[in-house]
């Protein structure tokens, strides 16, 4: 076999092993006759460390030896590879969100009146943590219930310029019609200016983005 540069063999070993390797372990890879001495190996490690400049990996020495690791600057995008698939929001959550959007400012009690069931506090917390709703005030009645409203993030997420972009109740009554419009929205280029009177396609097109992801 043709002789490879020691530096390359060390890189190959560290990447193949994926865990720290001591200088001793690295030397074990070689037959006794060809075994580099410690100084040679340390020189190869130094050369490798230098070559890592500008690359997304770096050579570090840890307790059990040397290791090539992905630089921490890449933690943010790369960590997402391990994230579990997100679940889905419950029907109750979506209804609560929709009521807050259409009827804001609204109290929990008013939401309960319309939905006919108690509002799960977990839902309100989830929506707040998501940044979609917030407390905008209190109704001055006994108990001073919180008044909930939607946020700018809510509008941004759903690609709405304002609540006016939401279909009117009348339009909602004919959901089949709405469905057609929403599907049509996916085909329509988003960049094309849409007349103010027909905001649904834009909203739909943007909303389609996350769904496809």
């Amino acid at each position: 076999m043709e002789q490879k540069p020691l530096r390359d063999i060390v890189e190959a070993a560290l990447l193949a092993f994926g865990q720290p390797l001591s200088v001793g372990q690295l030397r074990e890879m070689f037959d006794a006759g060809e075994r580099p001495d410690e100084a040679e190996l340390r020189a190869a490690l130094a050369a490798l460390a230098e070559d890592c400049a500008g690359r997304p990996i770096e050579l570090v020495e840890v307790a059990s030896g040397w290791r090539l690791q992905v630089r921490s600057e890449f933690a943010l995008p790369v960590s997402r590879l391990w994230q579990e698939r997100p679940g889905r929001y419950s029907r109750a959550l979506l209804e609560t969100l929709a009521l807050i959007a259409y009827r804001q400012p609204i109290t929990r009690g008013e939401i309960e009146d319309v939905r006919g069931v108690a509002v799960n506090p977990h839902i309100v917390r989830t929506l707040s943590e998501r940044g979609w709703i917030r407390v905008v005030g209190h109704r001055e009645v006994p108990g001073r219930p919180e008044l909930l409203g939607t946020t700018r993030e809510f509008l941004d997420y759903f690609g709405l310029r304002g609540l006016d972009d939401l279909p009117t109740l009348a339009a909602l009554r004919d959901m089949d019609h709405l469905g057609v419009q929403l599907e049509f929205g996916e085909v329509m280029p988003v960049v094309e200016p849409v007349p103010e009177s027909a905001p649904e396609p834009v909203a739909a097109a943007e909303a389609a983005g996350p769904a496809a992801g």
Partner: protein, 297 residues
């Protein structure tokens, strides 16, 4: 997969690598002794035979070896000759009390049958209905087996992980746990709203009014603007750049908030600037009157 199997593979490799004519090269190593005898002449040391047979993957493999060894055309096997050799192997194995897999005996029977059919006089009306060659089935099976024997050898040649290739892997420094939030489409939310409105209609006290939604949005915004609890000048809630429509929406929102008792308007004297503020809590209300507003538009 180690132990005897490993030995068998070695013996077979040794066999396969010898060109047929070079009989002096060992075809197997048995207990350290090179075995140079080729099975063709059927003198094989007993231990060698054992190793030799273990090297075969069954009767088809053995037959194929015999055919290849003698450079015979697989499509025109001298069946009598091959049968005789095969039977001699079988006999020897039985004499050596080797455990003989049933498949070997089955093949012996098949060969004998082919041989007897080959001896029958062939049909005189040549050209008419061609009689199937009695060997056809055997030839088909041998060829088919050989294809996969080759395929297995080729598969073994493909560079594979662990032996030839190693997955490159590096720890990620400062790995974080990222939780993905569920995605919602606008349509999902609208469908939910449609359902809830329909259900509410059945409850018969539907009070989902038909106000322009921008008024509702503005009502929330005004409440946030008044979150500090102090007085805010009426005119400061209007934005000239929004035009007449914007002014109207804000004004309607303020009226609605006043009607709902959420804000109050204060005027020090006639014609003085109008100020607005949130309605102060009744004295018996819980002490905290601050809004828990965390996000500001």
């Amino acid at each position: 997969m180690n132990g005897p199997d490993e030995l068998a593979v070695t013996a077979h490799d040794a066999l396969a690598s010898i060109p047929p004519q070079q009989a002096e090269m060992p075809f197997a190593i048995v207990e350290g002794e090179p075995v140079t005898e080729i099975p063709r002449d059927l003198y094989i040391p007993p231990q060698a035979l054992e190793v030799f047979l273990e090297a075969f993957e069954g009767p088809l493999d053995l037959l194929l070896y015999m055919i290849r060894r003698q450079n015979l055309d697989i499509l025109d096997i001298p069946i009598a000759d091959i049968t005789r050799q095969y039977m001699e192997y079988i006999q020897l194995m039985q004499e050596l009390d080797l455990e003989l897999a049933g498949e070997y005996l089955l093949m012996a029977a098949m060969l004998a049958e082919i041989k007897s059919r080959m001896l029958l006089p062939r049909s005189q009306e040549a050209g008419l209905a061609e009689e199937a060659d009695p060997r056809a089935e055997l030839v088909r099976r041998l060829q088919e087996y050989e294809r996969f024997k080759l395929a297995a050898e080729n598969l073994d040649q493909i560079p594979r992980l662990e032996r030839d290739l190693h997955q490159a892997h590096a720890e990620l420094a400062g790995r974080r746990v990222v939780r993905l939030l569920p995605e919602v489409t606008l349509q999902e939310m609208l469908l939910a709203f449609k359902d809830v409105v329909q259900r509410a209609t059945m409850f018969a006290h539907l009070h989902v009014a038909r106000e322009a939604l921008s008024v509702r949005q503005r009502m929330s915004e005004v409440l946030v603007a008044l979150a500090g609890g102090g007085l805010v000048e009426f005119v400061r809630l209007f934005r000239a750049e929004e035009g007449r429509m914007g002014v109207t929406v804000t004004f309607v929102a303020l009226l609605e908030l006043l009607r709902e008792g959420l804000i109050e308007a204060v005027q020090a004297e006639p014609y003085a600037p109008v100020h607005l503020r949130r309605v102060t809590p009744p004295p018996d209300a819980p002490g905290v009157d601050e809004l828990t507003v965390t996000t500001v538009i």
